[in-house]
Structures are given as structure tokens and as C-alpha cells.
Amino acid sequence: MNVADVQDAITRAHHGEWARVIASLTKRFGDLDIAEEAAAEAFAVAVERWPADGVPPNPGAWLTTTANRKAIDRIRRESKRDDKHKEAQRMWDDPAEPAVPLGAIDDDRLRLIFTCCHPALAMQTRVALTLRMVGGLTVPEIARAFLLQDTAVGQRITRAKAKIKAARIPYRVPSAEDLPARVPGVLAVLYLIFNEGYLTTGPGTDPVRHDLTAEAIRLARLIRALLPDDGEVAGLLALMLLTEARRTARVSAGGELVTLDEQDRGAWDAALIAEGHRLVRERLAAAAAGVAPGRYQILAAINAVHTSARDVRDTDWSQVLALYDQLVRVDPSPIVALNRAIALAELDGPEVALAAVDRLDDALAGYHAYHATRADLLRRLGHSRQSRAAYDRAIDLAGNTAETAYLTRRRDQLG
């Protein structure tokens, strides 16, 4: 086996096994910190040994065994200093309080996700902890993704682990009764990770961080496999797939944003779209049976309408608008109203849409997409001067390099 193959095997093992190793060690030792350190050490040993010894027949089992040994080594070292770990281990191993069994829906990784996304942790902490423990990203990788200092991310994760231990945040899948209240928190973390990947902010950064979008999709697939009956899980996965499918068409070779109406639809990923459409159809069938769809399912359905049109002129805008009307009822936020207005422009013209957009000024004056939308509507109405001012404002506020490039070109093309 050559070096590249071994490297490949290690990368695959890291993607496939990291969360599993962390999860199984956390279950056994009742301590995320020990699990994280031991897992990292086991992968370091793999990097050192696999090129010489060859890749073991079952890399996951090899890594778990090695990590277990590392964890026991650490506990032995520490037990010479104090006996606290025994107490900790006893508490965690205590099977006296099992959650209401969920039948087949139980998995160590699912416990891990729910612990990392616990509502007692701040949102940013949940994101960092999930990427580290479930996604296997390193602290510097997470820091780079969110434009933070390594030390800030490291501290956030360290404090989170300390809180989980001190406050005894349980390492378990919530009971069936609590699950509906807890799943949205997990999905919010995944959507945030995805969006940061899809619309990366910050000057000098890549406009799209494929590593983050891919990670969010991987985690959403995992949750989907574990909770196949949850409509919003299916909806979020579909939404991510249908968005990811357009990724390569969305940024030009010159690094400029390409809007939906100008994208080369032949460059969309047909396999991802097919998978997303399957999920949306599944949820439409559930909706027809009387299950009210949540916001991810409605957003996925809107994306399904767009990705069904082979040409932008074939877009069923009345369907899009009807879905936005439905979304407004679930999520009456000004950003939803803004996106609804964009669909309205296609049906009732830019003047009607502009009136709807202008009503959002109080809420969205600091949001670049509000000004970009206004600029586009004003341009279509022939109000060049006002359009230019709106483009200027949008450019000032935009954080994504591809969007800035697109808005600048559009402004400079005004007559």
C-alpha cells in the first residue's frame, strides 16, 4: 500500500470513525475531555504506525481499542493524584435512570450530538463543540471557519466540557416525550454550520467553504438515519442538498456570485437534486395526510420548485409565492417577507414588490440583502440613481467576497 492510499485510509477513518470513537469512549468513561484526548492520540498513533504496519482490517475497531487504552493510561496517571474520576465514572455508569427507550432510535453518536447541542450551552458553544466532537474538526479549523482566534475557540470548548461535567448535562438521547423540544436545537446548529459554509463571511476568505457544507450535510444524514420519521430533519437535509447541488454554479470562475436566474442549470448536481426531491416528495405526502410542515420543509419545497425548472423561465412562481405565504405563517420574520417579495416581483412586477420591500426598512436597514433586493428592483424600474445608492449600501454591508464582486459589477453597469 502506498503512502497516498494510507493517507486516504486515515482520512476516511477520521470522517467515518471519529464521532463513533468519541461517543463510545464518552459512554464508557463518562468524560468528553478524556474521550477527545484519547481519540486524538489514537489517530496520531494511526498516522505514525499505519504507513509502516499497514492499515488494519477494521480501522474503526483498531482506533477504538487504541483510544480506550490511551484513556485508561490517562485515568491511571490521574488516579495516582486523586480518586475523583472513580466518583465521576460511578455516576456516569449508573444505569438507574435510563431514558424512556426509543426502540431502535438509539446510537452513541446521537447521544453525543444531543449532549453537544444541549440548550444549557450557548449557541456558538454548541456549534464549536459539535464540530469538534461530532465533526472531528480541529480547534484551528473551527477558528478559521468562524474567523475567531484559536485560543477563543479552545477556551469555549474547554469551558463547555467543564460545564457538562460540573452541571451533569446528561449523555443520552432525550426521552420520546422531550425529543420534539430538543430536535429543533440540533437542527439549528446544523443549519448554522451549513450557512456559514455556504455564505462564508469575511474579506479574503473563500466565498464557499465546502468543508463546512459537507460536514453539515453529513451530520444531517446521520440524524436522518437515526430519526427517519422526523419531518423537519428530512426537510433540513433536503434544503441542504438542494442548496449544495447549485454550489459550483453559484460562483463564477472569476469568484463572482451568479444569481439563480443566471446560473448554468446544467452544472447543477443532478444526484443531489434527485435525493432532495425524493425527501420533499416524502414530506409532501405527509403534509397531504395532515402533518403540518415546519419551516425547513417549506424552504426545501421552495428550493424543489426552483430546481425542478430546467430553465429559469419555467419557474412556477405562483407555487413559490404560495409556499412563502405558508412560510410567513410559520415564521413571520422580515427576512422571510423580503424573500417573499422577490417572488412577488416575478408575478406582480417590480413596483408591487418594491412597495412590499420598502415596508421592511425599519427591520432590515442593516442587512445587505435588503439593499441588494431594493437595488435590483429599482434598476428594473429604471431608477438608476436610487438603484446606485442602494447598491452602494449593499456593498458596504456585504461580508461575502463573491457577493461583493457581483454587486459591484451590477452597480457599475447602471446607466
Binding site: M91, A96, E97, H118, P119, A120, A166, A167, R168, I169, P170, P174, D178
Partner: protein
């Protein structure tokens, strides 16, 4: 596992009869369920006295050690299996006493 559930408020001893009845009912319930360790309401911070004997000579100061608009108005000490259970109890306690509460584990 033991948790301190602190009641955060900008007033003390101001509960209406309805709130008092709700707190009593909640207390009886957590006693029956085995979560109760101790609980109590506190007099206003202006009645507090700070004592500092770190130097060997007890220094006595009038007033709370920290002036703030909101303060500890009362507390429960509860026994719970884990934070999830403690948070559920705290949610019921917050509703009963009509105030925000903070949940903090004992060491």
C-alpha cells in the same frame, strides 16, 4: 446530584396570595417526589451585613457585598438525577414563584 435554584428578582416578600399558594403546592410536590433538600425566601439586600475576618479582625460593613438591581430573593436546594431533570424542576419553580431562576450545580 444537588443543585441550587436561585430566585432572581428585584423585590422580596412581594408574592401575591396566588403566587404563595403556587409555591406551596410546588414545594409539597418536590417533597413528595424526593427532590426537596431545603428552600427559603430572603429579606431585602438592604438588610444584609458583610463580615470580613480574613485579616484576623472582623470587619463589619452594612449592606450587601454587591449592589445590583436584581438579586437573590430566595432559593431552593434540590436533588436531581442530572441537569435535564433539574431544569424541568426549575421551570416549574419559576412558574410557581413568577420569577427567573438560576440553576447551579453543587461541587
Amino acid at each position: 446530584m444537588r443543585y441550587l435554584v436561585s430566585v432572581i428578582d428585584d423585590k422580596t416578600d412581594s408574592a401575591t396570595p396566588d403566587v404563595m399558594a403556587a409555591i406551596d403546592a410546588f414545594n409539597e410536590r418536590i417533597q413528595a417526589e424526593g427532590h426537596w433538600v431545603f428552600a427559603g425566601g430572603l429579606a431585602a439586600p438592604s438588610s444584609a451585613t458583610v463580615v470580613d475576618n480574613r485579616g484576623g479582625e472582623a470587619l463589619i460593613t452594612d449592606g450587601p457585598f454587591l449592589e445590583s438591581k436584581e438579586y437573590l430573593a430566595g432559593f431552593w436546594v434540590m436533588e436531581a438525577a442530572d441537569l435535564d431533570e433539574a431544569l424541568k424542576l426549575a421551570a416549574d419553580g419559576s412558574r410557581a414563584c413568577d420569577a427567573r431562576v438560576e440553576v447551579r450545580p453543587f461541587l
